[in-house]
């Protein structure tokens, strides 16, 4: 299991063992990054896979250890007959289903936008903007107040253009992912991606990011946001679970496009639990996964990890920190997690962001060509 889930999952496991005394859950937590997929892949290849394990849906998010890649290779059990399998949100099904069969439990969902320090916003009389020009104005106001507007982890800054692209790419071309898969379009040849990168460049020019943002690591950017030096953090809303500071409340809001009506948000069910096919304890493993899917367990577990549960996404009843996203879920203004987006693509988009921050407007096309090359390979 990913170590970031430890605080949320440990109490759940304790409760499960009380409810099912015949089953003992021996959990191994592994840090995120490449350690987790490497460990999992080695265990699967060595015939020593855990009975239940965490992975990412689709084919590429966790490389060869992604849920559907494993399903294709017969490594994970078919969970279609479980009562919760019908609840997998429509928007996420393509990442969990193969040939009409469900292979994983969506553990939690995240969205895209900016995480902000609600406490400081209230003190300064600021409100989340509803237009892109409002975002730029907000940056100028915060900067004039001597604070850093947005902490951007430049070494891993892909989520910023991705958030912007939800509106600039997918509103006009909802089937952009299919077009990309069919090699009918490219990043560099898509006006929406050019717009998203231009907006990153505009934000940079408006002084939105901290000095030295290009080389900033995730932990450095996190530190700026947690310490109150930066009032916003550019990353997935899942970071809300980890971003904590005494006496401070954090929330999240979507990055608005030109206007509210054309704004879309990502609905990414990127966390999945799977059961190893043919595991010696398959029945017990499925019982544990069923327990995680239970209504009293799934929502607190997802919320503690900074995510939203399947039930919350389906009903648009989001946790308080994410109420700004509720109307988008209600009005179906959500975009699925891009099917082409894996660890390698996140790196190449982050590289493109660094290029844009260093080179300005002129480098946008070459930066996007770099993403195209990475995807082709």
């Amino acid at each position: 299991m990913l170590s970031t889930f430890k605080p949320a999952l440990d109490p759940v496991i304790a409760d499960f063992e009380k409810a099912y005394p015949a089953i003992h859950v021996n959990v191994q937590y592994v840090p995120p990054g490449t350690s987790y997929p490497n460990t999992l892949t080695t265990e699967i290849n060595g015939g020593n896979a855990p009975d239940v394990f965490y992975t990412n849906p689709g084919y590429v998010q966790m490389g060869s250890a992604s849920l559907l890649t494993l399903a294709k290779n017969g490594k994970v059990a078919d969970l279609t007959s479980q009562s919760w399998s019908g609840d997998v949100p429509q928007i996420a099904r393509s990442g969990f289903e193969l040939n009409g069969k469900v292979y994983g439990l969506p553990l939690g969902g995240a969205s895209s936008g900016l995480i902000y320090n609600e406490t400081e916003f209230a003190k300064l009389g600021l409100t989340p903007p509803t237009t892109f020009s409002g975002v730029l104005q907000l940056c100028r106001t915060i900067k004039a107040d001597g604070k850093i507007p947005i902490a951007l982890p430049g070494q891993f800054g892909a989520f910023l253009p991705l958030s912007l692209a939800m509106s600039s790419v997918y509103v006009s071309t909802p089937d952009w992912d299919s077009q990309l898969a069919a090699k009918k379009t490219t990043f560099a040849g898509t006006a929406g991606w050019q717009t998203a990168m231009q907006e990153v460049s505009q934000m940079n020019r408006a002084g939105c990011f901290q000095p030295g943002a290009v080389s900033s690591t995730t932990s450095q950017a996190f530190q700026l946001a947690a310490s109150g030096q930066a009032l916003m953090y550019a990353g997935p809303t899942g970071a809300l679970g980890a971003l904590q500071a005494p006496g401070v409340t954090f929330g999240a809001f979507p990055i608005a496009a030109g206007n509210t009506t054309s704004t879309r948000v990502m609905s990414a069910f990127g966390d999945a639990m799977a059961v190893t096919a043919g595991s010696a304890h398959e029945a017990a493993a499925i019982q544990f996964v069923d327990y995680l899917a239970g209504p009293d367990v799934a929502t607190p577990l997802a919320n503690k990890a900074g995510d939203i549960s399947v039930a919350q996404a389906n009903s648009a009843q989001l946790p308080t920190s994410m109420t700004a996203f509720a109307s988008y879920f209600k009005q179906d203004k959500t975009v699925a997690f891009p099917s082409w987006l894996g660890a390698g693509q996140l790196v190449s988009i982050s590289t493109a962001v660094q290029q844009v921050l260093n080179g300005g407007q002129g480098s946008i096309t070459s930066a996007l060509q770099g993403v195209d090359r990475s995807l082709q390979s």
Binding site: T69, S215, V347, T351, A352, Q354, A367, G370
Partner: protein, 329 residues
């Protein structure tokens, strides 16, 4: 110094070779056939050769078998799980045509050349400075050697903080009136690679210094003194006596720095992660990125084969050339 001083009548150059190669200091063995064990001696050895079998089997299983398995996978499209399909030379062609991989190769070469020159010059300079004259030389030797024993990855994270825009380096520049020199050292593509180089040199120079010190201690003091009495200047003695007698140390240090430069990984991952915009990608970081993060195990294996071949060719060529030069000297 005095421990490795050869007794009168012994070839000082041979003694230097032994000292630089890490031989135990002590009275020199007489030259001649008695120095090496003969076949007959080996046969009478109380330690049977088969005792080495567990070690040989271990090395064969975990080094050679792994290498040949990696070489086989380099001709496949293996993703890390599932079946591997034979794709011939496609991975190698991909590496040669991919601008990021080509850039990584170029950065590796740039970094290695600069690193070998700088680490050896600084290491030699430190060794000469701390060989005899400085009273606190033992303390200074320990201080300069200390970075060698520290984890390169952990140390790189500390350097990451030092070089960050709001870090101590820029703070220092600002406080001494050099505010215009402040920059995002790791975020500026034209500076990032050289920043990695600084950390690499800092981490390795101590070892280079130790290798040269070992060589210097094998050189008889009398030779230098005799040349000084004959009126040779310090520069002349350094150029014509000390450096030629240090040839074995040069061979070892240059070879080790070359290998360390070619396989540089920890410092890049800890400082820049290969960025900004691939400006510090090296062959080793690309191998990791492609093979593990991108799930292209076959392609990563091909990068591994290329990196191994590059290190082997360069290191062997270097040793051959330098050994030949040693023989001439």
């Amino acid at each position: 110094m005095s421990t490795a001083k050869p007794p009168p009548g012994t070839d000082a150059r041979e003694e230097t070779t032994a000292a630089a190669a890490g031989a135990r200091p002590g009275p020199a063995q007489p030259a001649g056939p008695g120095r090496r064990p003969l076949k007959g001696d080996r046969a009478k050895s109380p330690v049977p050769l088969w005792w080495a079998l567990p070690g040989v089997a271990f090395v064969a299983a975990f080094i050679y078998l792994a290498f040949f398995a990696d070489a086989w996978y380099s001709f496949t499209n293996w993703t890390g799980t599932g079946p591997a399909q034979w794709v011939g030379l496609s991975n190698f062609r991909g590496i040669l045509t991919d601008p990021i991989a080509r850039g990584a190769l170029w950065h590796t070469v740039e970094l290695t050349v600069a690193f070998v020159i700088a680490a050896n010059l600084i290491g030699l300079g430190l060794a000469l400075a701390l060989h005899r004259t400085v009273r606190s030389r033992n303390v200074l030797r320990v201080l300069f050697f200390a970075p060698v024993v520290l984890s390169p990855l952990a140390v790189s994270y500390i350097w990451q903080f030092i070089f960050s825009y709001t870090g101590p380096l820029n703070g220092l520049l600002g406080s001494v009136g050099l505010g215009s020199w402040k920059r995002d050292w790791l975020g500026d593509p034209s500076w990032a690679l050289w920043t990695v180089l600084v950390v690499l040199i800092w981490g390795f120079t101590g070892l280079s210094m130790t290798l040269y010190l070992a060589g210097l201690q094998g050189i008889a003091e009398e030779i230098d003194e005799a040349a000084a009495v004959d009126g040779a200047s310090t520069w002349f003695r350094l150029r014509r006596l000390t450096i030629p007698l240090l040839a074995p140390s040069v061979t070892i240090s240059v070879t080790l720095t070359t290998i360390s430069g070619l396989r540089v990984f920890d410092q890049v991952i800890g400082l820049t992660g290969g960025g900004p915009a691939d400006a510090t990608e090296t062959l080793a970081t690309q191998l990791y990125q492609q093979g593990f993060a991108n799930g292209r195990a076959g392609y990563g294996a091909a990068l591994g084969v290329m990196l191994t071949a590059l290190i082997a060719v360069v290191a062997v060529a270097q040793v051959l050339v330098l050994r030949r030069r040693e023989a001439r000297l």
